[in-house]
Amino acid sequence: MAANGRDTTMDWLIRRSLASTPGSGEICPGPEVLAAYYERSLDPSETARCETHLSQCAHCREQLAMMVRAEETPQPVPHRSWLWDWRLLASAAAVLLFLTVWGVRRSVSLRVSSTANEPLVAMSRPEQTPPQQSAPPPGQPVEVAPSAPHDVLVAPQVSDRATARARPAVPEEPSAPRNEIQALPLNGRDYENLLKVKPGAKSANQPSRIAGARKEEAKSVPGAASSPAAPSTMSAQVYPGMAGGTLGAASAAPDANETATADALRAKQMESAPRAKAFGAARSGALAPLAEQRSASTIIQTPDPKVMWRIAGGDFVERTEDGGATWRGQVADPDALLTSGSAPTTKVCWLVGKVGMILVTKDTTHWKKILPPIPADFVSIDAKNGSSATLVAVDGQKFSTDNEGKKWVPVR
């Protein structure tokens, strides 16, 4: 007989012999001892006695076999255990880390490019504290309080398309340190004189006056020509103020040329300037219209002359409570391209923009998006309070609401 056959036979014989072996005759140990033996917590003598019994008692061995099989039986998988799979978590963590690093680097690069000219919180020189401004009577131009940061924020270069609002090109100083900003020759009063616009006067006159003022400035102060753009860019764009300190289109039917120019500027802005750079420094001529637009319709007056809002470009809005000495900014809505606003109180502010953007805040911090009456670009809004407002679309249509935009009614 082959050795393998003999071994197989012997295995079978052993199995049969052990299975048919009568018990030891001893009393079987209880679950307490079996459990302790299972965990090998019995002392050596107890272990030996237990093993002797077990080697002869199929009943006790059967229990042990069940215990070891029950322990090895896998637990039921929870419904969402796949969420805690380490591989999935590791992959998600890696992706999250990559996005975080990419986002940080991107924001850092943007800040580096905008830091020199576009501080988010700007300080003005003490001697240039803007004068107290009250709400101008209807028809009077809105005087924009000048401040040094505007000098820094404004991108001087203007495209050829900006005719009515053209201003002389001033070399930009993106790297101009703040001490140079401090050395602006003109004080606030000078700017006031420059900015005052008689009612009905065309804004086209402004650039020449400003240009003339600049020439005089350049003559009197060396290096002044290289200084950042004067806030005349703001002044050139003043519109007759509306009641409640609003800033927007002068009338329901603005001048056609100006409207076309504004549209052209906005169109070019949309094509060339990424929204992320909207409130950054103006690096090229493509960004100039954006700066001009911002400077033109930036300031939103409130009943309190010290409290103002300012659209800093794109989705960014700033607010001051000290008359422009310091500004605190925030992103009103990441999808917004803001163009105008209205602040009927110091806490309430309505903002409108392109593509049906309407925002309102009642606590100066949290912005609520309002559904528009039509999906159009809005150019101005006149708000009475946090619930009532009248907005004007780019095509001249007017809509009003008195329930915070839940329902808009056309106004003729």
Partner: protein
């Protein structure tokens, strides 16, 4: 010695069991939260889905102490003395109950079965054994088989209990090498090596015993094995009775 004994106790589990036995509500909340799911899982693993549920519920009721003895509620927790983890003890109790139930069921079935025309025998009571041939071609067959079986039993009895237990776990209980290693505290490779050594040792001793004590020749020894391959199964008692 007492100190070493006390050090082996699972005091936390013992305290929990004692508090549950005393009817402490907080302790029961802890026990239900920590052990009820494990209890259910172990019961299903031991007795299957349907019977496992019943097994777990029955044990849970006894742990709670639905039975009364001498006018007071008696909890199964009173039998836990902390010599093992509470979870292991619960598994041991489940296994014991299920094995007892199975044996009780098999005995009941063997008693319930009735032989028809005197030929049918219980299938579950003991393995079906072919009748010994009254007129075997080789008259030595029965004697050789009996000697072989006796030698085997003697050799197995003389084995170290641990080696014997290892063999029993493998050949009778059907456990894997890893499971045996877990029970005996050995590595899987160690179990395999020792099993192989023990099996070879048993074979050598059986053959040596048959040669020396029974004075069998090689040819007779060969016949022993051949007859053992053909005979399935055989009962030592019947063989010994026939011989006598």
């Amino acid at each position: 010695m007492l100190e070493s004994y006390l050090e082996t106790l699972y005091v936390a589990d013992l305290a929990l069991a004692g508090a549950c036995s005393a009817g402490n509500g907080v302790a029961w909340d802890v026990f239900v939260a920590q052990y009820r799911p494990e209890l259910n899982r172990a019961a299903r693993a031991i007795a299957g889905e349907s019977q496992g549920r019943e097994l777990a519920d029955s044990l849970y009721a006894d742990l709670f102490g639905l039975r009364e003895s001498e006018g007071r509620r008696k909890s199964l927790f009173e039998y836990f003395h902390g010599r093992s983890k509470l979870g292991t003890w619960l598994r041991a109790v489940l296994a014991q109950r299920h094995v007892d139930e199975m044996r009780r069921a098999s005995q009941t079935e063997s008693l319930d079965e009735t032989a028809s025309d005197g030929q049918q025998e219980s299938v579950l009571a003991k393995p079906k054994m072919p009748a010994l041939p009254n007129e075997a071609p080789d008259p030595e067959r029965a004697r050789l088989l009996a000697m072989l079986q006796a030698a085997l039993m003697a050799v197995l009895s003389a084995l170290d209990s641990r080696d014997r237990l290892r063999l029993a776990h493998y050949y009778v209980d059907g456990l894997t090498l890893a499971q045996i290693g877990k029970l005996l505290g050995e590595h899987e490779a160690t179990v395999s090596r020792k099993l192989d050594r023990t099996r070879r040792d048993v074979r050598k001793r059986v053959e040596a015993r048959l040669r020396e004590k029974k004075e069998l020749s090689e040819a007779q020894l060969h016949m022993c094995i051949e007859y053992a391959r053909e005979e399935w199964p055989f009962d030592l008692t019947r063989v010994l009775s026939a011989r006598d």
